[in-house]
C-alpha cells in the first residue's frame, strides 16, 4: 500500500472553525422571533444574517449547533451559513469575554489616540497590544479587539462595550469603564 498523499481521503480533513455549544437550546421565544424575521423576506435565505445576529446576541457566538439550527430553519446548505460566519467580521466563531471592548482603529480615531487607548486596555488586562484579532482576559471578563471605522470620527476615539457606544474615551474613562464592568456579575 502506498503512503497517503496530501489529497487522499486519508489526509486529515480541515476542522470546522466553529466551536461546539453543548448548551445550545432554542427557546420558543427565539423560534417565534426567527419566524417573524423570515416573514420579512420573499426568500428565506435572506433572513440568515438576522438569525445569526439573534443567535449571537443570546449565546455569545455562532456554534456548530447554531449553524445546524439555521440550516434547518432556512433550508440552506451548511457551507452557505458557515461562509457567512467567516466573512462578516462581527460574527464570532468562539465564545468571547463577558464584555467585548471594540476600539475603532481607523484614521480619525488613530489621530485621536485610539492606539494609545488600545495599548491601555491591553496592558491593564494583561493582553498583548501587538497581537492580531480578538483577545480575552484570563478571567474571561473582557475581550479586546481593534475594529474598523465605527462612523463617529468627530468624537474620536470611540469604543463599543458590547452594544454600548462610548465617545471621546480617555484612559481614565477606560479605567472607570472596566471598574464598572467588574462590578457586574458574569
Amino acid at each position: 500500500m502506498s503512503e497517503p498523499t496530501e489529497f487522499s481521503s486519508a489526509s486529515k480533513p480541515t476542522a470546522n472553525p466553529l466551536a461546539h455549544d453543548a448548551h445550545f437550546v432554542v427557546s420558543a421565544e427565539l423560534e417565534a422571533e426567527a419566524s417573524e424575521l423570515i416573514s420579512h423576506y420573499p426568500e428565506k435565505r435572506s433572513a440568515v444574517l438576522m438569525l445569526l445576529h439573534e443567535v449571537q446576541e443570546r449565546f455569545g457566538y455562532i456554534s456548530q449547533e447554531a449553524v445546524a439550527w439555521i440550516v434547518a430553519k432556512l433550508e440552506m446548505q451548511p457551507i452557505h451559513v458557515l461562509e457567512l460566519v467567516t466573512f462578516y467580521p462581527m460574527f464570532r466563531q468562539q465564545p468571547a469575554g463577558q464584555f467585548q471592548v471594540k476600539i475603532c482603529r481607523t484614521l480619525s480615531c488613530a489621530l485621536g489616540g485610539a492606539y494609545e487607548l488600545h495599548h491601555h486596555f491591553c496592558s491593564r488586562l494583561g493582553l498583548d497590544d501587538q497581537a492580531h484579532g480578538i483577545q480575552t482576559s484570563k478571567d474571561g471578563k473582557f475581550s479586546v479587539e481593534f475594529v474598523e471605522c465605527l462612523a463617529s470620527c468627530g468624537t474620536a476615539p470611540v469604543v463599543m462595550v458590547n452594544e454600548d457606544f462610548r465617545e471621546g474615551v480617555t484612559t481614565q474613562q477606560a479605567d472607570e469603564m472596566m471598574a464598572q464592568c467588574r462590578k457586574t456579575k458574569g
Binding site: 423576506y41 466573512f87 484614521l107 475594529v147 471605522c149 468627530g154
Partner: protein, 462 residues
Amino acid sequence: MPQEFRLILKNIDQPGYTNDIECYLRHGGYEALKQAIVLKPKALPDGKIQTGPEQIRDEVKASGLRGRGGAGFSAGLKWSFVDRRSGKPIYLICNADESEPGTFKDRQILHKDPHQLIEGMVISCYANDVKLAYIYVRGEFPDAARILKKALADARAQGFLGKNILGSGYDLEIFIHRGAGAYICGEETGLIESLEGKRAYPRIKPPYFPAILGLYMCPTIVNNVETLCHVRHIITLGAAKYAQLGTPNNTGTRIVSLSGHVKRPGYYEIEVGKVSLGQLINGANFGGGLRDGRSLKAIIPGGSSSKVFRAGEKFKLKRKGADGQMVTVDVDLLDLPYDFDSLQAAGSMSGSSAVIVLDDSTDIVKALANLSEFYAHESCGQCTPCREGSLWMSKALHRMTHGGARKQDADYLIKTATNIQGRTICAFGEACAWPVISFINKFREEFEAKGEADEAKSGTSH
C-alpha cells in the same frame, strides 16, 4: 461669514427634540407624505397624462438632487433607469451602511430623526411603485436598528406605512436588515448580495445594474439615508425652490462630517458649494481652525478613498466669467468651494462629504499605513488584484512604519496600486489604490526619506 444651513438637521440636536413620532408630527412630520400621496393626475402640454408618482419622479429629477452616499450621481436619473416594464416587483433599499472612514452623518439622522428618513422613503417608494423596501443598517449600529424598528412600528400604527397608506390604497412594507461589519456592504451590489443572505461580493455591471437586475434579480433602487431625506424636502419646497439652494449642478444642502486635527470636529450642514474647504476647517462656526501652534499639512476631502490634497496646492479651474465666457482661474486649496464638481475638477472628490484634516504633527506614511490596513481588512476577496494588492500595500506600509523602509518602496506601492485600479469588479479597487497613489505623489519626499533613513541605519542598500 458663511453659515450652516440646516435643512436635514433642522430639528436634530434642538432642545426638546426627540426621535419619537409624536415629536416628529408636532414639527410638521409626514405632511410631505400627505401632500405627495394625493397628487392628482395632471395633463401635460403635449396632452399626455402624468400620474402622481410620475410627477414626484419629475420633481426629484428637476431638483438636481445628487446622491449623498459617495458617487454623487443624479438621484432622479438613477430612478429613471428603473425597468418599469418587466412586470417584476420593484424594490427600494435604503443604504444605511455608513462606513466610509471619516463619515458620521447618517448616524445622526438614524438615531435622532428616524421618521424623517421613513417619510422620505415612503414618498420615494410611492413614486417608484415599490411595495417592499428595506433599510440596510450597518451591524455596528444596534441602537439605530432598535430605534428604526420602533419608528417603523409607530409609523405603521399611524397609517403612514402598511396597508392602504393614508387611505390612498397604496400598500408598502419597510423592514430592517442588519449588516455584520463588512465595509463592502456599502457598495450597492454587494449590499444586495448581502440582503439575499450571501457574502457581499459585488456583482459585475453589466449586466447586474440594480435598476434592472437587483434584489432577487428584480429592478431595485439603492439610495443613501441622506438622499432619501432630501426627497421629503423636495416635495415640501418644490423642485424649483429646492434647486435654488446650493449652486448650479450642485443643488441643495449637504451634511459634512469634519474630523481629525480641528478644534471643533463635528457634522455641519451647508448649502452645497456655498462654503469653501478653508471656511469649513477654519470658520469659527465650523471647524474653528487647527489646534494652537499647528499648521495644515493635508486634507482628505471626501472620505478615506478620496485623493488627498496637500496644504498650499493650487488648482486651475474653469469658471464662467462676467461676460459669460468660460475662463480658467487659479484657485487655492482652501478656496475650493465644497461641492461635487469643484473637488472633482481639483482631482479628488467630495465622496461621502467626510473631511479629515491632518496637521503638521502627522506622519504621512503612518497615516497611509492606517488607511491601507483598513482596505486590506475590508477587501471582499473576490477579485485577485484587490485581494492580493491591498494586502501587499498594507504589508509594505507596515514594514515602512516599523523601521524597515526601503528607498524603492514608493515606486513599488505606486506600481501595485496602479495595477489594482480599473481591474476589479467594483470601485473598491480604486478606493484602495487612490489613497496610496495620491499620498505618494503629493508627499513622495517623506516616503523616500523614510527609506533612506532606515537603509542608512541598517547599513543595507537594495
